[in-house]
Amino acid sequence: MGRQARVSVRSPPVLASWLLAHLATGYRRESLVGDLLEQYQEGQSAGWYWRQVAIALGWALVRLPRVALFAALTRVSGAATAMRPRLARGRTFRLLKQLSAALALVTLGAATLAWAAGVTTHRPADAAQARQCAAQAVHGDCASPAHLPR
């Protein structure tokens, strides 16, 4: 009576566990850690555990830009929402509105110019045309000689 079953627990590599706990992020992390522990208890080696942790960290690295971008956007939108009532009362808000409108116009103009430059740049479709273009480039007639055959 009153005897408790003792569960013998093998400890996985400490550094690997620390890295997993602190650097791995995202989807079902706790379940992943639990699954790794469970398999390690069933006799997997420390090398196996390290390999699994390395792959988990690789996945965390892959998802990092997405997570960081989302966090940044949330922070920016949160800050903007918090600032809005104060800004809306003053001249600063009107000035910011005008500035952002001007910035949008300049960006649009630059994009249009870049597009127009891309459309008008001469790009020869085949080798014969490229050779002809090369001949013209000698006389300085070709707009973009970078594509010419060497």
């Binding site: 992943l32 639990g34 699954d35 208890q41 988990a56």
Partner: protein, 111 residues
């Protein structure tokens, strides 16, 4: 026309491995099933990455189990295919079987 989800090879294998009558598919079982049936050792983190994509596509659903001592007090997450997941798996398998017909014809041709 219904929008089809395109599944990668690992996603399809993981989706098929979640189809268990007992509904007890979790990370370890899924990775073990894939290793036994395909001979490929798949890392648990890769299985979870595929499960995340499948869940986002609405092809699997998940539920939390009870925490256990051997897992350091962490609960298992059980996965089961949704109706859309089962339909998608059936369609993918049928497509693969139709395409594999060409392979049989190729092997039977004179050298």
């Amino acid at each position: 026309m219904r929008r089809r989800e395109h599944l990668g090879q690992l996603e399809l294998m993981v989706l098929l491995a979640t189809v268990r009558p007992a509904g007890d598919a979790y990370g370890v079982l899924i990775s073990r099933e894939i290793a036994e049936k395909s001979g490929r050792d798949v890392a648990l983190a890769s299985v979870y990455a595929a499960l995340e994509r499948l869940e986002q596509k609405g092809l699997v659903s998940s539920s939390l189990g009870e925490p256990t001592a051997e897992r350091g007090g962490r609960a298992r997450t059980y996965f089961r295919p949704t109706a859309a997941g089962l339909r998608e798996a059936r369609e993918m398998c049928a497509t693969l079987q139709r395409l594999a017909g060409g392979l049989t014809a190729w092997e039977g041709r004179p050298a």
